[in-house]
Symmetry: C2
Subunit: 402 residues, 2 copies
Amino acid sequence: MKHLTGGVCAPKGFVASGTSCGIRKTGKKDLALIVSQKRAAAAGVYTQNLVKGAPILVTQKHLANGYARAIIANSGNANTCNANGIEIAEGMCELVEKYTGIYASDVIVASTGVIGQRLSLDPIANGMSALMMGLGSNSSDAAEAILTTDTVRKEAAVSLELGGKTVKIGAIAKGSGMIHPNMATLLVFTTTDAAVAPALLQKALELAIQDSFNMISIDRDTSTNDTAVILANGMAENAEIGSENADFAAFLAALKALYIHLSRLISKDGEGATKLLECRVTGARTDADARVAAKSVICSPLLKCAMFGSDANWGRVLCALGYAGADIDVAGVDVTFKSEAGEIKVCENGGGIAFSEEAAKTVLSAPEIEIAVSLGGGPGEALAFGCDLTYDYVKINSDYRS
Amino acid sequence: MKHLTGGVCAPKGFVASGTSCGIRKTGKKDLALIVSQKRAAAAGVYTQNLVKGAPILVTQKHLANGYARAIIANSGNANTCNANGIEIAEGMCELVEKYTGIYASDVIVASTGVIGQRLSLDPIANGMSALMMGLGSNSSDAAEAILTTDTVRKEAAVSLELGGKTVKIGAIAKGSGMIHPNMATLLVFTTTDAAVAPALLQKALELAIQDSFNMISIDRDTSTNDTAVILANGMAENAEIGSENADFAAFLAALKALYIHLSRLISKDGEGATKLLECRVTGARTDADARVAAKSVICSPLLKCAMFGSDANWGRVLCALGYAGADIDVAGVDVTFKSEAGEIKVCENGGGIAFSEEAAKTVLSAPEIEIAVSLGGGPGEALAFGCDLTYDYVKINSDYRS
């Protein structure tokens, strides 16, 4: 597996575009389009929040047959909790049909931004010409157009060999606040030129997400608009993956690696974040216990504040493990803080051990911190992604709408 | 039912004291003692965190027989995750026996503060004389001695008539961060001169807590040391409450009112808080659904930030209801913000309605905000307590240990 540039345009047969159509007053790009030359197998997972953005309902309908060809997405307005939300989401798909000839029913639609404000179709209609003119290897423009409070674009691509053919997978993502994915995630648009049957594509997507985006939490608020979709247009000409064979395993491994890379990018760019936090749990009785434990640690506001202050307050790690709801023997817990600046063990068998506060401060002052938790001798392990809780998170969210 | 002053010393036969013994370097009071003249029926509930402070294990042992006479508590160190924690907690009870003659096995012990630092018995032993000299109607001193990052004392007392006798109930509490009680709460010490059999006292305690302390969340971090205990010494000479009769109902109603009063005080004094938030959910299918929904709203970091900024971002209320896990028809949700400055409806049937942003800002600029959520026509309702999320929460917790 190799890492590539080019994002969603790295795989064969995909073009993308991003423009500013005026939904956002700042002039930031706010409308994105991704198009496949050929109709593609398609799969999606969505938020488990009972309040769902209207675009999700429309996308679910369009993906029911397992195929699609284009993705349109806007930022600046989530098109959620609006009386005319479905009408607008369908209108966006119809605009794509009008300009590209792709059936509206083969278009995936997504929106992100403020909840509960009406979205007008006018700026989107006005932006379509510019969007069409921009279509090309412009993954970065599309990646920029879906950002909200994000400060950096999230793009990645990889290639792998399947039966003598080079297959590529590319993705763009967004997400900085209201990030606590549950069975789905943020916005993630993935393209691949691999040939994969829709059912297997859905399975690969769900498995890859379980260990990547679903292990992120920025603020424990599960969004109403989380959507991850993947389009596989088969233009790499590999033998279609139609069962859980070796090709499926290789494709899944590449997809998971791509998503973990994006998960780290997203967590590091969490609203107000100054540090990426990763909690690696080993020795749990099961992977499920490890996931619950790792996510509980990454979610603790108190620990997140301590990490912001480079304070080795490991008692908060123990506290979060204790209320996680996993099957844990607290008397067997070890905790070590790790970073590029070194590592320091702070807790052994559930109790404190002597350590240098100065050395701990050095370790915790790095921009990427790993909280390594050993729960004992079990086979279960997991990795969760988060960030510190800072003044800027409060600042960003105390006046988000204006 | 009448509200009284005097806290835990309002009921007959209880004295209290608080002193500074030097566990905390600041000179703030850090050691409290409450004593009943007579042996009292006693009941307790404790954190459900798997990591439990050593004092909880000792208190559970001492309360196994349903009776106790004294409470000793320190702040500044949680005596949790320490190799010698049990020894220290038992040592604190033995100090009470040495100075008062009350059997150590009739002493309740509690600690609150940093987790994972060794607690020495020395300052406590040195402080005992001053603590004994201070015993009297000094509920406020005891209330002060158990505070950590709290900025105000939490004390309350009520009286009620039971069978022609006046019965009093008093309580002190602490809690400002790591507050997300689960089946127990913070530290709450309650005294009453009512005669109540231990089993009924336990039942009243659990029922009163369900609708009060267990409905608070400051930061979703369930503490390792949450402890609520009640002593009933019978000196009011009412007929002992031995069944769920009318007297039990009256006693429970008074206890619940007292605890809701304290829950509001605690929430308003949450770490860094500038505003008390209350979420009142009505029209749910069941009370259990209402409780889950109300607590989810009060916990949302994004909503808490919006309330800090007086921003009527009601989409975040809908979002939190959607992921709560309760059985909710999101298309039937109404949301109204209320305060002393007025009230303003912002969402009807799950969708936005026109409202004056200026008027909303006025309503939300008050120090106590009610978020009123109607879920439909069901009989279930609940009230949850929380506070806004501010810069100061981050400040307090990014360097708590130093």
